[in-house]
Each structure stands twice: as C-alpha cells, then as structure tokens.
C-alpha cells in the first residue's frame, strides 16, 4: 500500500496551530506518511512534528468555511488546527484518521526511520538473557538456562531462553507448561542475593473445576524452596475471581497439593477496568470548568490513584515476603503478562539497588516487560482519548511507571534517573520512531525482524548526550531496600504526565535548574579544593628540604 493513496491533500497553507501555554503558530501544514508537520517557515518559531502513531483520536468542527481539527495524542496532549477551506479540512481529517490507525505493524514509522546519530552501542544487543544469567551464575549455581522454548512452541509469549531450577529437566518443564495458562510455567524473575530467596512468575494453573494437578509443576516450584522453608504464592486476583476462573479451565494452587506454599490474594484491576480508569482520570485533568469539589470527586471516581496504591502495595508485599520473611515468592494472576509483571518489576526496584540505575532500569524493562511478553502492541494501541470500544488496550505499563515515580518521589536520592526517563518511556511505549515497543512478545519481534529493520530505543537513550537529560542530580547510590509508603497521603498525582499539557512548567524548570546548579557548583568546589590541597601538600613536602638545607 502506498501512503500517497491515503493523503488526499498533502499541503495546506494558512493553518493556525493552538497549543495550551504556547503562542499560536500560523503556517503550512504538511502530511507525510508518518508525520503531521506544521511549519511557519520562520527560523524563530518552533515547528510541530507529530507522529501519526501518536494520534489517539481527532474531532472536527466547522464554522462557516473555517474548519477546526482537534487532535488528541496518546501522550495526552491536545492541539487544535484551524484549517481554512472545508474540503481541505475534511481531507486532512480523513487522512490523519487513516494514517493514525494503520493496521499493519510493518508500515509503522520505526521501519522507515533512519537515525541521524551514529549507533555506538546497538540497543538490541544491550540486554541479552545470557548476560543476566552470567550475573546469576556468579551468585548461585542452583539455576540453569533452558532452551526448551527455543522455537516458541512451548510458550509463544516467553523468550527462547528461560531461567529454571537446575534440577528440573526440560521434559518436566513441558509438562508444567501444559498445566499453566498460555504455557507460562514458573520461571525465575529475581534472585535476592542477600538471603538467596527468589521471586518467580507464571500464569494461573489450569486446575479447572475438577481440581487437576500437575506433579511436575509442584516439583518445579518446590525446587526453589530450601529445606523446611515455606513460600508464598501471590495471586493478583481476589479469591472470588480466582474461583470463577476454574469454570473456564483456570484456577489457583490448592493448599493440599502445594503444602509448602501459602497463597495470598491481592486484587489488582484487569485491563479493561484500567483503561476506563485512565480515560476518566484524563477527562478530569482536562476539565477546565471544574470546581474544587468536582475535581476531587472526579479524581476519586477515576480510581487511578487506588490502582496505583493496590499495585504498589502488592509489590511491597512480595518484596516483604522475600526480604523480611526470608521466603521465596511465586507471583501470578490470570495470564501472567500484566499485573504479574507490575508486581515482579516493582518488587525488584524496591529490593535491588541495581534496578535504580539507568542501565539497571532499562535491563529491568527489557527482562520483566519486553522479554516477559507484556503485549505492548495490544495494550498501547490506544490511550486515554480512544472513543471506540476498547479491545485489549490498557495502561498497564503506564501504571507501572506511575508506581516507579511514586517511589522516586519518596526516595529522591536513591535513583540514578529522574522523572524525564519515565515520561520518555511512557511516550515511546505508545508511539515511537524506535522498534523496541513494537510487537507483543519476543517471537513476534523476531518475525518482524525488528533488530535488523528498526533502531532500538536503548541505542538512542544510552548515548551520553541523551543520558544527561535523564540523570538525577541528587543520586547517591543506596544499597538498602527502600520501602515506600502506600498511604493515600503519600501517593501523589503524577503531574508530569497527567497535567503536563495543562500547566506552565516555568517555575518548576527553574527550580530543577537551580538544584542542578547547586550540586554542580558543590562538585566544582570540591574539585578545586582537592587540587589545591594536593598542590599545597606537594609544595610543603618539597619545601621542607629547602628550609633546612
């Protein structure tokens, strides 16, 4: 298919762009296969380059022959384009509509994007399972890397290499896989060096109504327990939901079959509920007319903050089981690709200082989200302004980022990165020039040949020039476990994302710059003083023989 077919009017002059807190721009609007571009053709004013993929929905209005298109983006920004001429306006609107809802992945921008920077380190190779297994091997020899899923036939949503207990052979893994939803048998998610406890994740067991059991599954997870120790199974559904799942062939681990495990149910909302929550929240944040009362009740009614609290609480629980109770943990919900990953990845941020570095955080996202088979493409197909019936869209990843932001707020010195990194990840998960978040699992990405045909987000982020923007000036490595507060008083609305386009950040930017300045000045002085002291010391030692010749 040619993009040209979809672009009825490639260029319109005299278009006026309105953006909140920015001066209006008048200029020429151009549509290309992947971008909506508005240029005033003056060097001084900023141009607008908007990826079609970033467009969530559009609305059009007419007053006489002046048409207006309201463009609502997946990054939550809303812009208005005034287009003279009804026909032009209709053409532009329908082109945007068509170009922003392309079905075929291979037509997406990442396949056409050529980086303007030199790729020094190929992000596709930055975080391979073999590397993280090497780290694990240096701590314990209880685990092995299995190739049982080499051709993705055992579990289509898992990567080809999986970390499993050493004593469990591939045959048992196959049996265990047949007992878990989508073949997602229990695999290692995190090894807690401090006390050798582990966190595993899986999908629900397929016990069904007649209480099926699977010896291999039991053996597999028991293999992670030390003699005489008990473990915890954290089920991210309420007991009622888990019960109901039995009717559809799913279920949960029966105490009788897993006597060494204690099951805890902590409810985290499912995808369609979360999508609804996001839509309501963004509606509340964008409502210009609201009184104080309506704002708070709308915020409350969106349930977004409650979802943040529940996810964070469950992650803390998992972390607490591991670090405080000295127990191993297995986390699962239904499919093991959403709430499960929220919990396992947040627990690692709490427990493992390495995950609070930029590199470590990237590795965490690669490991616990991309390789673990979170269906990014499905979940991030639409954002808060989608007006169609939701299919499988859900802000699961955005909620995870929100939770990370909450921890970052509470431990502002313990993270190497700042809020900008989280916001950037949110943007790129929904629309990007990079291929990292395309596809739903490793197998799909392989088929799409993303690593050959597209550029990895990490190739860009990890360039020193870009990294600077994401560095937290207050960072001081902290090897402790960091326990966040999950009280409602302690959890804040993430303004950097949800009010980002509704506020001027002048004063906040100024404060940030001042903070950077204070710290840089301190370091500069430190360096000066040290070098002078050295000089002094040198002079003194060398002078002394002079004094007594």
């Amino acid at each position: 298919m040619e993009f040209a077919e979809l672009i009825k009017t490639p260029r319109v002059d005299g278009v006026v762009l309105h953006r909140p807190f920015m001066p209006t721009v008048e200029g020429t609007l151009c549509l290309t296969g992947h971008h909506l571009i508005l240029s005033s053709r003056q060097d001084t004013t900023e141009e607008l380059w908007l990826l079609h993929a970033n467009i969530d929905s559009t609305e059009k209005r007419f007053v006489g022959s002046l048409g207006t298109i309201i463009v609502k983006c997946k990054d939550l920004r809303v812009i208005q384009l005034d287009i003279p001429g009804m026909e032009e306006c209709l053409n532009i609107a329908s082109s945007i509509e068509a170009l922003s809802t392309l079905d075929s992945v291979s037509l997406m921008y990442p396949f056409f994007y050529r980086p303007l920077f030199e790729v020094i380190e190929d992000g596709w190779q930055s975080f391979v399972p073999e590397e993280s297994f090497k780290d694990l091997e240096s701590m314990t020899d209880e685990w092995r890397l299995s190739e049982v899923n080499k051709d993705f036939s055992l579990c289509p949503s898992y990567p080809s290499l999986l970390t499993v207990p050493k004593d469990i052979d591939d045959e048992s893994l196959c049996k265990a896989a047949s007992f878990r939803h989508g073949g997602r048998f229990p695999v290692l998610s995190y090894y807690h060096k401090k006390n050798a406890m582990v966190m595993m994740r899986a999908a629900q067991p397929l016990t069904g109504t007649n209480g099926r059991r699977c010896k291999e599954d039991e053996k597999l997870i028991n293999a992670t327990l030390c003699a005489g120790k008990r473990g915890y199974i954290i089920d991210t559904r309420t007991i009622a939901v888990a019960q109901q799942a039995k009717a559809r062939g799913g279920g949960f681990e029966q105490e009788a079959n897993y006597p060494q495990w204690r099951r805890i149910h902590k409810a985290i909302e499912r995808s369609n509920v979360l999508q609804d929550s996001l839509i309501k929240l963004v509606e509340a944040c964008n409502d210009q007319s609201h009184s104080m009362d309506r704002w708070l009740s709308k915020l409350e009614a969106s349930n977004w903050q409650s979802n943040v609290k529940e996810i964070l609480t469950t992650a803390c629980l998992a972390a607490q089981c591991i670090d405080r109770e000295g127990a191993s943990v297995l986390v699962h919900g239904t499919e093991g690709t959403d709430s499960t990953l929220q919990v396992t990845s947040l627990a690692q941020i709490i427990l493992d200082p390495a995950c609070r570095t930029i590199r470590g955080f990237e590795a965490l996202i690669e490991r616990e989200w991309l390789q673990a088979g979170h269906p990014f493409q499905q979940r991030c197909a639409q954002s808060a302004y989608s007006n169609g019936k939701p299919r499988s869209e859900a802000p699961v990843f955005l909620l995870f980022l929100d939770c990370v932001w909450q921890i970052l707020r509470q431990f502002p010195c313990s993270f190497q990165f700042n809020e900008n990194l989280l916001i950037m990840l949110f943007e790129h998960a929904y629309a990007s020039q990079f291929g990292t978040f395309l596809g739903n699992c490793v197998a799909e990405r392989g088929k799409l040949q993303l690593s050959q045909k597209t550029v990895s987000l990490w190739s860009w982020v990890n360039r020193p020039q870009e990294l600077e923007r994401f560095l937290n000036p207050l960072y001081e490595p902290n090897n402790l476990v960091i326990w966040p507060s999950v009280a409602p008083q302690s959890l804040l609305l993430w303004e950097g994302v949800f009010l980002r386009w509704n506020r001027s950040t002048k004063c906040l930017d100024e404060a940030y710059q001042e903070m950077v300045h204070i710290i840089e000045y301190n370091k500069e002085l430190q360096n000066k003083v040290n070098s002078l002291r050295r000089q002094l010391a040198q002079l003194e030692t060398e002078d002394s023989p002079l004094q007594t010749p």
């Binding site: 210009q288 009184s291 104080m292 009362d293 309506r294 704002w295 708070l296 009740s297 915020l299 409350e300 903050q305 943040v308 609290k309 609480t313 803390c316 607490q320 405080r324 109770e325 707020r409 509470q410 431990f411 502002p412 207050l474 001081e476 402790l480 476990v481 960091i482 326990w483 966040p484 507060s485 009280a487 409602p488 008083q489 303004e495 509704n502 004063c507 906040l508 100024e510 404060a511 001042e514 903070m515 204070i518 000045y521 301190n522 370091k523 002085l525 430190q526 360096n527 003083v529 040290n530 070098s531 002078l532 002291r533 050295r534 000089q535 002094l536 040198q538 002079l539 002078d543 010749p549």
Partner: protein, 657 residues
C-alpha cells in the same frame, strides 16, 4: 500544681498510631507545664514531651483487654494514645490533663513560666527585634499622602486596633471618629499596605453599620480621602470578603456593606469566603481524614473533598489574587473588610501582600507581616487558638489557612521564597504552644495591659537564630526581587493537601529522603568548601611568596642543584589531573547519605495477622525499628523543630514552674 492529681504513672503503654503492634512501655509524668512519657529500657529509650497548652482534647476510650486507653489530640496535629492499666490512674490523668490543658487565666500559660537563661535586657531586646515603624518606612511611609494618626494612642477610638495607624493626610480627626462610629467595633478604614511604585494601597476596616439605609458622611469622606490619596486612580475597590448572603443578613442587625450609590467612585465586590464556624468544621473534618488509620484511596479523597478545606483555601487565595492585581496592575486602592475585619480581612490582606511584595517572601518579611497584619491589627489569637478555656465557638483555624495558602504558593513557586515549609510549621506550632508571648491575647491593648513584653519572651529572635534550618536552598533572591507580582494558578488541582503539617507526626507517611534536607546539606557543605578554598589559596600564596624568597636567597647556592629537582616537580604537576581523578574525586562527596532516622525505614504492616519472626535477627539498618527513637534522632538534626521532645528543651527544664 493543685490540678495534678497524679504526678506519675508507671507501666503506661504508648501506642504507635501507624501500627498498634508497636508499643512502648514507660512512665508517664504530669508536670505543671508538660506531659512527659519516658520509655523504659536503655536501648530504645524515648522521651516524649508535650506542652499542656498544645493539648486540644483528652478522650477516654472504652477499656480494652490491655487496659484503659487515653487519647490526646494536640493543636499541632499530634495524636497520642496511652494505655494505662489501672482505671483510677487513667481517670486521674484524664481529669488532671483536662484541667491543665484548659487554663482559666492568662497567667497559667506556659509563656509566663518559661524562663530561658537570659537576662532582662536581653529579653526586652527580643521584643525590639521587629519594628513595625521600620516596616512602614520600608514601604515609604509616612509621606505626603499618608501619616500616622495619634488618635488611637490610648486605644480609645478602637480598642482592638494598634496605637499607631496610617490614614490619608487629608483626613481630619472628626472624620476618623465619625467613620469609626459607623464601623463595627470602631474599626475604621486604615492602611495595611502601601505600594511605593504606584501609590496604590490596601486598606482594611470592619463592616459599616449601614443596615438597610443608614449612611455616614464622615465614612464617605474617609473613603473618598483614601481614593484620592492615590493620585493615579479615579476609583477604588471595596472588597467584602464575605459571601453576599451573609453580608445581606447582617443588614438586619444594623450592619452590612457599602451602598455604591452613597460612596463616590467605589466599585463594590463580594468575594465569598466562609465564616469562622464553617472553617472550624471544615478543619475538623480535615483532621479526621488525616488521622484515619490506613484509609483507602477513596476514603481519603472523598474525606478531603467533603471537608471542603481546599475549596476554602482556594477562595482565600483568589481574594488575595484579586486584590494584588488591583494594586499592582490597575494601580487602584482597595479597601478590604469582612464583619469585624480581623479574620478574613487579615487573611486576604496578608495573602495579597505576599503576592505583591517579595519582601514578605523572606524570613524577616514574613515575621513582620504576621506581626503587622495579624498581631497588631487584633487577630484574636487567644480566642481563635483556644489558649484559654472558653467559648468553643470562638475557635477557628484562620491563621492555619493563611499558612496553608503560603505553602500552596511555595509549591507553585519553589524559587521565590526564602523560607521553607519547616518555617511555616514552626510558626504554626508556636502560635498554639503559648511558649512565647507573641500570640497571647486578642489585641495590642490586652497585651499591653497584661505586660506581655515585661513578662514573656518573643518568638522572633528565637526563630531568627535558627534561620539556617528554615532557609529554602532553591531561593533565588535577585530573581524574586525582579519577579514582583506572583500570579499563582487557581485550577483545582493546584491546591494540595499539606501532608507535612496535618500528618506532621506520622513519620512513615513522609518521603524517606528529603530533597530539601539534601540540598540544605549540600549548600552548607558548599559554604564550607568556599571557606576551605579561600584558605588554601591564601596558604598557597604565602608559600609561593616564601618559596620565591627562599629561592631568591639561595639561588646562588642551589643553582646547580635546582636542575635536579625541578624536573620531578614539573612532571608531578603535569600529573596532577590524573592523580586527582584516581585519588580524590573517585569518591564523590558523600553528602546524600540517609540520616540515621531515615535508615530505619518503617516497615509496611501487611501481615496484619502474622507475628513478626525475622525482625529480631535482622541487624541491618532496614529493620523496622520503632519510630520513636528515630523521631528523636530527627529532632537532633533540627533543634527548632520542637514539640516531640520538650519544645526548646535546651533552654528550660520541665519543672521550673
């Protein structure tokens, strides 16, 4: 002392509110001024000192298995729960505390017995720390437009006003007297803030006694004179901060508001800030929400909404914005009043002043502002804060709301305030503590009659001495000076719940690492480094000089030798950067380490039904050690953040009274 039925109770349990399983056992002492709890055991020894004047109420709860619970709510939002094993002991403590926390006479207040180790001259000097005359002259007054009238020197015209008042030069004494007779409690229009740049002013008064039709020529002349005192404007605003309905209801009682037809060139405006009773109930609801034990997100947000607290803060802020814009942008004079002109009027005038004048965003400036708009103009601190046992209906968090507005502004403008939120919280604490004399009584006259300056100490020098703790590291003075008028945004989401104040004592709710503390430490270190640098440079200069001298003197002798050692010296200097990287900056300055208190990160109580097993052997820093000990270690780092230990215990013992 006669009110203390029970000076000491043993085996009292102090329950941590965040987790009922965390309990301290110790001894409870009642002194004339404080309730003191001393925890047993050498390792987790804790002391908790609470001033009686800070106690808001004492409640006995139903007996539980473990004993008789006693709940103490404080005016600084601290809540303590003690469990006393004997019913009679509990009752005695209850009766004693109930009486001790409700003094009947001013003389019983702590400020009259508080006796730090300073002499008389020093104490008197403490009262001279702030000088309102100097403040008015900073504004540029008196000048040819405004002067001080001697009319209230003896507090005869208005006993709730200060002695010195600014009125337009053109106003005669009969006009002032006439106007004062036409205003509630004689509070005639007088100047609160003067803007040098454009001569616009904020004036304040109480409501006129206009009823349905009454008018007063002198009052009309007074307003006319105020209007004319600003040569640049042809009208003035009269802002009634009450809701219109309330103001209209007042007309039936012979009070009311200005009729635009009777006054020349005024623009009349209602603002709609609710009265003290609505505000009291609102804060009560807010406190209940803040004190909920592990509420759900929904409970908290709905509670916050139902309290209406943030809506009230917004309305006060909006009033301040209206006035500040009138003054700065339109250059128009504004007369502000409510009913009596000492609550809403004080809030609105002071908020507007902070928006207008960068000076009030400095430490000293805020002290002056409170002294001027609140203390001198007769905000009824004793009634509003409930210093004495009396009418509960008079109590209202009017000044809390002003401090809350300031905090909201600091959130929006992080670089424009010299002080930080600890300063506000400290001021809040001392307004209620009755530790110093500043906020005792309801008017200047009462304070004079009670000889407050002779018998008590002033808070301001004490805060000034500790100013390092109250500095905002992000403050950019030059910029703020140029910034002039602050234009805060008033979208509902700009108003936030002030956790640091309302959950001040719930440590586990606050960030475990504080950006503020961190930056303050860095700044302190930077200062030290600047000194070190100067010292090093000085030494180096001296050494260089000496060396030059020695070299010069020994030149002849050493000439041949010099070639031998000058080479290694040069190469070593060339090597410096490399060595330097390896040796010195390898370890960055270790200034961000957690404070000791912060290390003991409190633990989540998720295993409500499970006894803790692993804590005991957890010797690392993260174990969920009790909060109280960490609390006091936090106190050490911040000496003036008082009230858990003895407020200002460095200065006095508890039994001095």
């Amino acid at each position: 002392m006669e009110h203390i039925r029970m000076p000491k109770v043993e085996n009292v349990r102090l329950v941590d509110r965040s987790s009922s399983r965390r309990i301290k056992v110790g001894t409870l002492y009642l002194t004339a001024t404080h309730t003191i709890f001393v925890g047993k055991g050498s390792e987790d020894r804790c002391e908790l000192w609470v001033l009686h004047s800070l106690v808001c109420n004492v409640v006995k709860h139903k007996a539980s298995q473990s004993g008789y619970p006693l709940l103490i709510h404080c005016k600084n939002f601290q809540v303590m729960q003690f469990i006393i094993s004997q019913e009679s002991d509990c009752h005695n403590v209850y009766i004693s505390l109930s009486r001790l926390s409700r003094p009947e006479k001013y003389e019983e207040l702590y400020c009259f017995s508080f006796n730090p180790n300073v002499d008389k001259a020093e104490r008197e000097h403490s009262w001279d720390f702030l000088d309102l005359k100097a403040e008015y002259s900073r504004m540029g007054l008196p000048n040819k437009l405004w002067h001080v009238t001697p009319i209230n020197r003896e507090y005869r015209v208005c006993d709730t006003y200060p002695a010195d008042l600014f009125v337009p030069q053109s106003v005669t004494l009969p006009v002032i007297i006439g106007s004062s007779k036409f205003r509630s409690r004689g509070r005639f229009p007088t100047l609160s803030y003067y803007c040098k740049e454009n001569h616009a002013t904020i004036c304040r008064s109480s409501q006129p006694l206009s009823g349905f039709s009454a008018r007063c020529l002198e009052d009309e002349q007074m307003l006319q004179a105020i209007m004319k005192s600003n040569p640049g404007s042809r009208f003035m605003y009269v802002v009634d901060t009450r809701p219109k309905l309330n103001a209209m209801a007042n007309r039936a009682a012979g009070k009311g508001y200005e009729n635009e037809d009777n006054y020349c060139n005024i623009k009349f405006q209602f603002i709609g800030i609710e009265n003290i009773h609505v505000m009291r109930n609102s804060q009560q609801k807010l406190i209940e929400v803040s004190a909920l034990r592990s509420p759900s997100m929904g409970e908290f947000l709905m509670g916050l909404e139902n309290s209406d607290w943030l809506r009230h803060i917004k309305s006060i802020m909006e009033a301040g914005i209206f006035i500040s814009k009138a003054v700065a942008e339109e250059g128009v004079n504004v007369l502000v009043h409510c009913s009596d002109g000492w609550d809403r009027t004080a809030q609105v005038c002071s908020v507007a002043s902070v928006l207008l004048d960068p000076y009030y965003r400095t430490l000293k400036g805020l002290m002056v502002l409170i002294e001027k708009d609140w203390v001198s103009f007769g905000h009824k601190f004793s009634h509003r804060c409930g210093h004495l046992d009396g009418e509960a209906k008079e109590v209202s968090p009017v000044i809390d709301q002003f401090l809350d507005c300031l905090w909201q502004l600091m959130e929006q403008f992080p670089c424009y305030f010299e002080y930080n939120e600890k300063f506000l919280i400290n001021i809040h604490n001392h307004i209620y503590s009755c530790h110093y004399g500043n906020f005792i009584c309801n008017s200047q006259k009462e304070r004079k009659d009670l000889c407050i300056k002779e018998k008590t100490h002033s808070i301001w020098p004490h805060l000034w001495e500790n100013k390092l703790d109250f500095m905002n590291p992000l403050f950019k003075p030059d910029q703020s000076q140029n910034q002039g008028l602050l234009r805060p945004r008033t979208a509902p989401y700009c108003f936030k719940y002030w956790r640091r104040l309302y959950n001040r004592f719930d440590r586990e709710l606050h960030p475990r690492q504080s950006e503020l503390d961190c930056l303050m430490t860095v700044k302190e270190e930077t200062q030290q480094l600047e000194e070190d640098l100067a010292l090093c440079e000085q030494k180096l200069a001296v050494l260089d000089k000496e060396r030059a001298k020695t070299l010069y003197m020994q030149k002849g002798v050493l000439e041949s030798k010099q070639a031998l050692w000058s080479l290694p010296l040069d190469t070593s200097l060339a090597n410096t950067p490399q060595d330097y990287i390896g040796g010195f900056i390898g370890g960055a300055p270790n200034v961000f380490t957690l404070q000791q208190g912060e290390r003991e990160s409190a633990e989540l109580c998720l295993f409500g039904d499970k006894p803790k097993s692993s804590d005991a052997d957890n010797s690392d820093q993260e174990s969920g050690v009790a909060d109280f000990s960490s609390h006091s270690s936090g106190e050490e780092s911040l000496p003036s953040e008082d009230s858990v230990k003895d407020p200002d215990s460095d200065e006095t013992g508890p039994n001095r009274a």
